[in-house]
């Protein structure tokens, strides 16, 4: 009886030690792998291919008549403010372009590279005046295709 009991206790003790050793070795291995990875450079970061995004926006006139704001005025305001904030290199990398602008409603679609999404949102908030009209530019939604952007524009 006592022999059986001793065997049982020793078996449990051995299994616990084995469990502890396996967990400890797994943790050590994980640390070693992360060290090697960091030494070789972060392999997790992927080179992301810039994709085109379409931002539907709306222009609200704070004072003045929105009919004075034409497509070329909006384009100029976008270009001027983008270059002021991010320079020519940023402008070239983001490639913002006014795809569509509805002059009667004051709404349009701006295309840009997806890596510059936050920069474009910030840019829109800094446009305060277009052709003498004080405006607020409000982003409505961002889509992956021009067709979806047109649909969203119709809904606004």
């Amino acid at each position: 009886m006592s022999l059986e009991y001793t065997l049982l206790v020793s078996a449990v003790a051995i299994s616990l030690v084995a469990l502890y050793l396996s967990v400890a070795s797994w943790l050590k291995m994980r640390r070693a792998v992360s060290l090697v990875r960091s030494a070789l450079g972060n392999s997790k970061t992927k080179i992301v291919k810039p994709r085109r995004r379409y931002l539907v926006f709306e222009i609200i006139a704070v004072s003045g008549d929105l009919s004075h704001v034409r497509r070329d005025h909006v384009e100029k305001a976008l270009q001027k403010n983008f270059q002021l904030l991010y320079g020519l290199i940023g402008y070239g990398a983001a490639r913002p372009s006014l795809v569509y602008y509805d002059e009667s409603r004051g709404a349009g679609i701006l295309a840009f590279k997806h890596l510059w999404r936050n920069h474009v949102f910030l840019l829109l908030s800094l446009i305060k005046e277009i052709n003498g009209v004080r405006v607020l530019v409000v982003p409505v939604t961002t889509t992956g295709t021009r067709k979806k952007a047109m649909k969203a524009l119709e809904k606004t």
């Binding site: 609200i60 004072s63 908030s125």
Partner: protein, 194 residues
């Protein structure tokens, strides 16, 4: 709830309509005397307090913001607990930020106000952004809490919440934390004070 906790102008029906269109559901401004709901937007009183006025602020109903102009304003910071809801640092007058100041700021535990209009004007006029970077770095390391407000003075200077989100994302704050600073922290503060 999207809230602008630092509006500096006069709030009228027109502004409330535009604020609603921009997505705001609550505005805190200094002109309000009590919390009220106007056209779907909750208007909350905002009190900007000096260090000497903090002792009288316990009875105030609204957002109580301590304006820090010198490092001495945060002395004996445990006494401030319960008297203020947020801290606003006047970096233009604060000429020295040392370890002691940061330790007090972290120990205080209340959110720090970052004003969009001030940050953008500094960005565009090539003033130093060192202190702002310091605050954002502490926030990214989860040492402090911040929230971003527009600091608008009139209708044309109001900004869409995504623009504020974009600004601090561009300055290096991860998107999850940026969203927290724009949406979660202000709504928590508004629900606490209102």
């Amino acid at each position: 709830m999207v809230a602008d906790l630092c509006f500096k102008g006069v709030v009228d029906d027109n502004l409330v309509r535009y604020a609603l269109r921009l997505g705001y559901r609550a505005i805190a401004y200094c002109g309000a005397s009590s919390t009220e709901l106007v056209g779907g937007v909750k208007l909350v009183p905002r009190y900007e307090l000096k260090r000497d006025d903090v002792s009288k602020s316990r009875n105030l109903r609204g957002l109580r913001v301590l304006v820090v102009r010198s490092k001495d304003d945060l002395k004996a910071y445990p006494k401030l607990a319960g008297s203020i809801d947020a801290v606003r640092i006047d970096f233009a007058q604060l000429n020295e930020v040392n370890k002691g100041f940061l330790r007090r700021l972290i120990g205080l535990g209340v959110p720090i106000e970052v004003e969009f209009s001030e940050l953008v004007s500094r960005l565009l006029s090539s003033y130093s952004l060192d202190y702002y970077y310091l605050i954002l770095r502490l926030y990214t390391r989860k040492k402090i809490r911040i929230y971003v407000c527009s600091g608008a003075t009139d209708l044309s200077s109001m900004v869409h919440p995504t623009a504020m989100f974009a600004l601090i994302s561009v300055l290096g704050v991860p998107e999850a934390l940026a969203a927290k600073a724009i949406f979660k922290v202000p709504s928590e503060l508004i629900s606490n004070v209102a």
